[in-house]
Subunit: 325 residues, 2 copies
């Protein structure tokens, strides 16, 4: 079996270090691995599969190595500066930042949903927004079967989505990363505000969902909220379908869809919760109910580990698709 | 000025003790006050306006006193057993429990929204559900001006809504009141589950909103979620109007409505948050944005102190209406 040379950019961050963990867990066939980081983290030691590695400083020469895949998880500025340099050297880039996601020639891939998009890549494949990834998994089979007309998202997002700074604000009760205390609070503010009154996070959910489901006709709105939860985002989703449906068919298509776990037995208090889902690579769906305010309406409650399936696991799954190809 | 004799049932609970605080703050004209409680709390001392009172045990003879108003805040079972006994003695009952709210002859009153309903009371006036109270305040002027067709509620509810047991679960990290840990978690489960897959809390928001706005034609759905916040509920609200609207008119009618504060300057990170709103009797509205997925759609984020405006303050305001009458 062929083995590959892999580079991880931003390996000391929350998503980067989880990518390493998942490459190990899934036994990704690695020949050599390189760790590239900002000057600040260069020189640090990283243990990967029982070997110790030194983090190298990322610079324009970093990609003059025999690298097959580069995972970028060091933020938009680093991806903007270096991703195309890597591509020019023939390296396949899997980018966790948002900057290339909406570019027409860049595939935005959730392997269970739109795996074939990888064939359209000219080098960069974007990893979608965390809340979007977990939402589109259950939405895909519902769209295929009942055709989604409109989606209303309200999110309950964990602080780990902001990286280690967010976790520190929650755990220490400090106000350093967020503009206000997150402990015991709820901030209707994720990423920066745009002219239209929406946050970038809200517009990511709206635009990326349409791109991944390949249907610009779906009407979408979103309100994204940070809550004092460490790991796992939750999303309250209201759907309107074109077609009539039976609730039992909703359960069936969700249960059959790869990557989705239906956890919905409310009479026994079974529903998805962040504390339960932490550490899982699956997307959990519950509170599945007809919305009686519409002819073809449905309510869902979706929970997933935002750092794993919402970021690192999805990125590694994209690399797995590329080597299967 | 006439003074009144008042009884508070459940004065040692979270809502009951806040009713006392608000009767003091608003200087409600009290001649004599009685404290009635279960056997467990009887004998306790309560300080009200610098006088010390002994809590009496509630029984069938408790209402053979010269009482004008009785605030019931001891749960549905107590209200069911004693509210009508009080009414039979000519006492006006303001009931915080849910049991009489949907009865046709019982007014369900939010003083800023439907004050005239008090004239229809035959004795009991119900105080609405906390999430419903804070939602209908901004909805009332919007319905009057633009006619609401459909509402989708997703709530972010504080543990104080469950009383002292909920607060203890949050603060001590224990699992006694809730079926699961609430610290660092989000539970899509408030009150018990019904046959149709909704919780009672969700159905309260749906049914009480229609009753208070006096319009059964409004289509409503809801998902209610407990979050690790001590005080103040937040609600993400999506609205569809019959009529077209200008965003500036939305701001205008909200700003002019009594009891509503518009806090919405996102470019300067100003939006309503639980930690800021705690202790206030106003309902805060922000994140006001057109929902571009619809012709006449609007998104709102509404925060209020669930124990004050969502319960105790609203109850005292109802009594104020009754004495003005």
């Amino acid at each position: 079996m062929r083995k590959y040379n892999v580079a991880v950019i931003g390996a000391t961050g929350l998503v980067g270090s989880t990518i390493l963990k998942i490459l190990e867990e899934r036994n990704f066939p690695i020949d050599h691995i390189y760790f590239l980081s900002s000057k600040k983290s260069a020189g640090n030691q990283i243990v990967f599969k029982d070997n110790e590695y030194t983090v190298e400083e990322l610079n324009e020469d970093s990609f003059n190595k025999d690298i097959d895949f580069a995972f970028f998880a060091a933020g938009g500025t680093v991806s903007e500066k270096y991703a195309n340099i890597a591509v020019d050297k023939g390296i396949r880039v899997i980018d966790n930042s948002s900057i290339y996601r909406m570019e027409e020639e860049v595939p935005l891939v959730v392997p269970e949903v739109n795996p074939d998009e990888i064939f359209n890549s000219r080098g960069i494949i974007s990893n979608p927004n965390c809340s979007t990834i977990q939402s589109v998994l259950p939405l895909k089979p519902l769209h295929d079967n009942f055709k989604i007309k409109r989606i209303i998202f309200s999110t309950y997002q964990a602080v780990s989505g902001s990286g280690l700074g967010g976790i520190k604000d929650l755990e220490d009760g400090q106000i350093e990363f967020y503009p206000y205390q997150i402990q015991g609070n709820a901030l209707p503010h994720i990423d920066s505000f745009l002219e239209n009154g929406y946050t970038k996070e809200e517009m990511k959910m709206i635009n990326e969902t349409k791109k991944i489901l390949k249907d610009d006709s779906i009407k979408i709105t979103a309100t994204t909220v940070r809550v004092p939860v460490k790991h796992c985002h939750s999303v309250s989703v209201n759907l309107e379908f074109e077609r009539t449906f039976e609730l039992e068919d909703v359960y069936k298509v969700l249960e059959q869809f790869d990557g989705v776990i239906v956890k919905d037995d409310v009479q026994n208090n079974k529903y998805p919760m962040p504390l339960d889902v932490e550490g899982s690579d699956k997307v959990y769906v519950g509170r599945i109910r007809r919305d009686f305010s519409l002819d073809n309406g449905l309510n869902l409650w979706i929970v997933a580990d935002n750092i794993r399936k919402g970021a690192a696991t999805n990125a590694v799954q994209i690399a797995e698709l590329l080597i299967k190809d």
